[in-house]
């Protein structure tokens, strides 16, 4: 690369992913963007279930409603290029989005889809997303996201990984 030029043409860019407000059924466009250093102050374990400061050196993304600040979900990823794989290290939704009283649906699915999009953009037809949920919840992910099972590792590959991206990244 000879020249780097910070000039941005603001073409309309492709916001298609959304979450659903459970009480109204209304769809809200979202964005999934890197966590910034200042965010760690507002990520207590009591609300986000894990100690996210421990993940500061990892690749972490937050899910927010487009234009909003409230972090509704988080995912920490590890890219493993030698295996054409993106491993989901840690994933959570915020406390108010857990359980039968949750405010929004589809948060976890969108975060898994974000990992899938990174894997496909990087590795194409070899792309893989993996995770290791606890045994008692594994079947849920197998059924809902059509994940493959290898030992206790669940994974998404072509063609299922493509179907997932199309399902979550295709809302007009």
């Amino acid at each position: 690369m000879n020249t780097v030029f910070a000039f941005y043409v603001n073409f309309p860019i492709f916001v298609r992913m959304n979450i659903i407000e459970v009480s109204t059924g209304k769809a809200f466009p979202i964005e999934i963007i890197p966590v910034e250093k200042a965010d760690y102050k507002s990520l207590p374990k009591s609300r986000y279930f894990f100690n996210w400061k421990d993940e500061q050196n990892e690749e972490i993304y937050k899910l927010v409603i487009k234009g909003g600040n409230t972090i509704l979900g988080l995912v920490s990823l590890e890219r493993i290029p030698s295996e054409w794989r993106v491993h989901i290290r840690l994933l959570t939704v915020s406390k108010e989005n857990k359980g039968s009283e949750k405010e929004f649906d589809k948060i976890a699915g969108n975060l898994i889809t974000h990992a899938a999009k990174i894997a496909i953009a990087e590795y194409g037809e070899l792309a893989c997303v993996s995770l290791k949920p606890k045994t008692e919840i594994a079947q849920h992910y197998i059924d809902k996201y059509k994940m493959n099972v290898t030992g206790i590792t669940l994974s998404l590959e072509v063609p299922e990984i493509l179907d997932l991206v199309n399902l979550f990244d295709n809302n007009e």
Binding site: V4, G124, K132, P159, L162
Partner: protein, 170 residues
């Protein structure tokens, strides 16, 4: 009460041994599955990869001076065709003309964009949602970035030719 299985996953490997043994097992299983992957799914994956890379390019705040349009065009053709001549034939352009565009020896004209948009509309129809105008967006993004980043080359000469004779009062 309905259980919520999606509030959290901790998939972190406990140690290097666990990671290695899981990686080996997973890779073996994946390679077996890949053997049976139909060609159309490979093409589907390549096209979705291209689309995501094009979108990522446009979303980047900083752009390089590479010829991204022709790079993406080459990837697009190679994802679908074994020979670029076949693509030239399908969009009714001379293979030499296509080669000149891909190698940046000739600028694509509007008719080429029209054909490319219609072709990619058909190619992506059963793959994913594809906004065919993205070809234009990438092309012009590249042109604007190229023009503005090379101001030190063209500005001194051009400035001599431009004057402003009208007075604008404060």
């Amino acid at each position: 009460m309905t259980q919520d299985f999606e509030y959290g996953i901790d998939s972190r490997y406990k140690n290097a041994n666990e990671k290695t043994s899981d990686s080996v097992a997973l890779m073996q299983a994946r390679l077996e599955r890949m053997k049976n992957l139909p060609k159309e799914q490979i093409v589907r994956a390549k096209l979705l990869q291209l689309k995501l890379r094009m979108e990522n390019y446009l979303n980047e705040p900083v752009h390089d001076d590479k010829t991204n349009f022709t790079n993406f065009l080459g990837i697009y053709i190679d994802a679908i065709y074994s020979q670029r001549n076949k693509f030239a034939n399908d969009i009714n352009v001379n293979p030499v003309f296509l080669s000149q565009i891909i190698n940046n020896h000739r600028e694509p004209k509007e008719e080429f964009f029209f054909k490319l948009m219609i072709h990619s509309e058909k190619a992506f129809k059963n793959v994913c949602n594809f906004q065919e105008e993205i070809w234009y967006q990438i092309y012009y993004q590249e042109k604007i970035s190229g023009t503005m980043s090379k101001q030190n080359q063209w500005r001194p000469q051009i400035e001599k030719q431009v004057k402003f004779s009208e007075l604008i009062e404060e």
